[in-house]
Symmetry: D2
Subunit: 289 residues, 4 copies
Amino acid sequence: MLEQETFGLLGGDSRQAALAASLVQDGHSVFAWGLEGLPAAPGVQNASPEDVVTRASSILLPLPVSKDGRRLNAPFAAGGLPELDGAFWQSLRGKTVFGGQLSRVKTPCPAGLAAHDYAAREEFAVRNACLTAEGAVEIALRESERAIAGSACLVAGYGRIGRALAQLLRAMGARVTASARKPRDIAWIEANGCRAVQTSRVGSGEEPYDLVFNTIPAPVFTRTVLARLKTGCIVIDLASLPGGVDFSAAKDLGLKAVQALSLPGKTAPESAAEIIKQTVYTILEEEKR
Amino acid sequence: MLEQETFGLLGGDSRQAALAASLVQDGHSVFAWGLEGLPAAPGVQNASPEDVVTRASSILLPLPVSKDGRRLNAPFAAGGLPELDGAFWQSLRGKTVFGGQLSRVKTPCPAGLAAHDYAAREEFAVRNACLTAEGAVEIALRESERAIAGSACLVAGYGRIGRALAQLLRAMGARVTASARKPRDIAWIEANGCRAVQTSRVGSGEEPYDLVFNTIPAPVFTRTVLARLKTGCIVIDLASLPGGVDFSAAKDLGLKAVQALSLPGKTAPESAAEIIKQTVYTILEEEKR
Amino acid sequence: MLEQETFGLLGGDSRQAALAASLVQDGHSVFAWGLEGLPAAPGVQNASPEDVVTRASSILLPLPVSKDGRRLNAPFAAGGLPELDGAFWQSLRGKTVFGGQLSRVKTPCPAGLAAHDYAAREEFAVRNACLTAEGAVEIALRESERAIAGSACLVAGYGRIGRALAQLLRAMGARVTASARKPRDIAWIEANGCRAVQTSRVGSGEEPYDLVFNTIPAPVFTRTVLARLKTGCIVIDLASLPGGVDFSAAKDLGLKAVQALSLPGKTAPESAAEIIKQTVYTILEEEKR
Amino acid sequence: MLEQETFGLLGGDSRQAALAASLVQDGHSVFAWGLEGLPAAPGVQNASPEDVVTRASSILLPLPVSKDGRRLNAPFAAGGLPELDGAFWQSLRGKTVFGGQLSRVKTPCPAGLAAHDYAAREEFAVRNACLTAEGAVEIALRESERAIAGSACLVAGYGRIGRALAQLLRAMGARVTASARKPRDIAWIEANGCRAVQTSRVGSGEEPYDLVFNTIPAPVFTRTVLARLKTGCIVIDLASLPGGVDFSAAKDLGLKAVQALSLPGKTAPESAAEIIKQTVYTILEEEKR
């Protein structure tokens, strides 16, 4: 476990609030700004952005650090949103800074400043994929009138999320087909006990699917492909915007299609916070060596 | 597959409506009364109770057939609810009758009439337990801010539902403890890869649970036992009424407790209908031999 | 854990030797007769049958206690085998006696004597079934030139061993079909993710099997049924003698058929001893209450 | 399925013989040299090396193509072993050549010749890892007196084989710890339901292991590390020669250590042949496009 430390949190949503609470439970001092619209967590001390920065040695920015590339992502802040400009970054000089998807910011953090993108670490991405897969299952259970056990599912794409999701659905008793392009992924799909299909051939001749999950950020589920799906099939798009599903075509065809955004922050904020914390701890320990 | 048959459905909810639709898809003629408040299913012919009985050779009553023991369970019926009295049963003479939990009715179906309780068949109970387990997972995912993967779960009771639920949670990556009284169930719990605890000792010295599922229809989760659970633990009661959890004590203790009723009819009506249909088909085939 | 106790072991094979060693490791005093032909276990004191009985308060007889119904099962004894007659049982008066399959003995243990058949306890049977399933897998791996992952397996019979074996093979990546007669077992087979077939129809129209495991102690795999299996299929008979496979027909048909006897004592003697110990401990604790 | 083709096999062992048989079953013409010491497979035509090359359009060399880097790997050949020199490669000009681990050969195949190393393809490596994992389990079952279910296992290294093996052991009911160096592999280990340990810390403070599997081709299990393992622990080395276990130290310490070589060709030659065939087919189809 990490030694006692003072953390300052700026912005974020319920995931960031859960992160604050979890850091307090580990015995750290925690100052926060921007969570005013959420229930107060015991032990977290609210402060102005300036005070947060002054008092803390490690600054934790949210995931994503910004939605528009210019201002801090802080939907529950009481006041106006700080600009992520040169002055902002300068104010963090001397601190260890952590944020998620820092590359989204138009004025990048200057080279001299020690800013760590926890979301870019692969161990974070792996754990996040597992939580995302469970969030996708939650959506499927909510939307569907059928059980997952015994259903026929397609997982399009076999990256981290596709892999975690295919395994989870299979463990829950579904018959899972996963799609990929590369022979090596096809081999892993089969090694993991699923049926494999070439992504380019999805919907041509396999078993009719009850549930389709897309993880590919490219227009895979076009009108043509959607038209091959059976009536009553539910399509859940997990790919980041603009996604991979033609929602307008889905509507025309009478298919229920769901854009699943902000997973897992929305479905499991505590666990999502936990893996940010784990990654931040790992980076802090690596820094000390 | 069963030969073409004429089914008459009386009463029920969305599960019964899904049953009607599924029978039509299998090529049967289906007459129904009592589903007027639900979206019409293509191919299902609405009729008066008398017409339904006259035209059909097999009559399908809902699960449960009655909630108060006297009148048909038909919450979506346009008119008044038929009394399940001697005259009702006499009107079904000559038909093959199916219903769920027939023993709940105060005026029992007379001996001469061929009435089958599909819910009393063990193959139905097994399949229903699996769907119930998945419904319980849906509730847990909805209520919890944590992922099931990596969480510590307790399943109290190792009957059909307990067994199905423990397996499902474990497959989803939870650390599962299950409770039972008999040494043989303790042995099965361990053989299935879970930790075992005596039901009488629940909460004494095991790992703190994130999620507790009760399947025992007896006051197991008393104030004393609930007081041993950790803050933030969510308790889901799956036992039939009056259940096994002291909800008032849970409230006092600040624990989130949920009474999960009508599973799986509510969470997965189509699959729940499917297993009624399967059981009815099996019984009809056994009758013919 | 049980209080310090003095155990006396008579007869048995490497499983009984492993039991002696494990009891010593738990801190008990252990006297043994009949294991002279096996490597000596540290801490186990060899003695004459009379001395073993005199010194110990709990007497542990092997599983099975006798092979011919008349003499003790003691293949590694240096001297002649004790008769299990009235005098033998009388010599054990005042002791707590444990044995496996006591009902096989022609002169039964008199009513006044506290003899416990650990093998008749269901928790023992469950654990033994799991070990037997793993032993069956060991045999299959040894006999087959194909991997179990990706193979098509049949498990005939869905009792304890069938259930454990079907689960294990499925977990290892096989496509598993299991056979049963009762609708409720068919429901469990499907609930556990396997394909189900009526036992009376085995071999008619399913996928051709690579491996067939029989657990039914009745002539299921007759010449007619064996003739339906594909060339190269391996048949492993786990049913107790006389088994359920026509070995002579298998030979004529060019099928490799294996009679798997003495599982799990042969394949995993230490684990097999462990579950005897666990059961004996449970019984001793129940006695004290 | 591939169009009818003429294959020529040179050298190899029972895996190569199984490959020949499987190609015949798919309807291809097969000529072979070097399998004279093995049982003849129906439909495979034996020929001299020259004839094999003349008649076939695709030449299949074994895995590994050579053991000493100079001569063909052909332990069951009736005559002397062909040198893999310039003349040999020239004789294959105009053919599609396939071999396993071609880089082991001292005189490399000239650039103009279309030689494919099927063992270098990742889809082959994935499938081979799964078969190797099952072979490792076969060895563990054979060597151990304990069941895998309920045992504590360590898998050192989380490459393809480590991953497949950890999953398989876990599916069989073992408590599995896996070791890795990189944070991302640690994340995957935990995501896959196993405990993770840094490779550099193996044996320091974890649960005592019943079975240890090494997949790391480096001296990880030195005398110091081996001395930390518990008595009775079995160590299985899966790393290619010289392996990662100090066998002499293991012997001194009384640990059973096994060098598991030639997996899966030895434990599952038919499946091992099948994945060579699959890979060769994929390459031939890619060539045609």
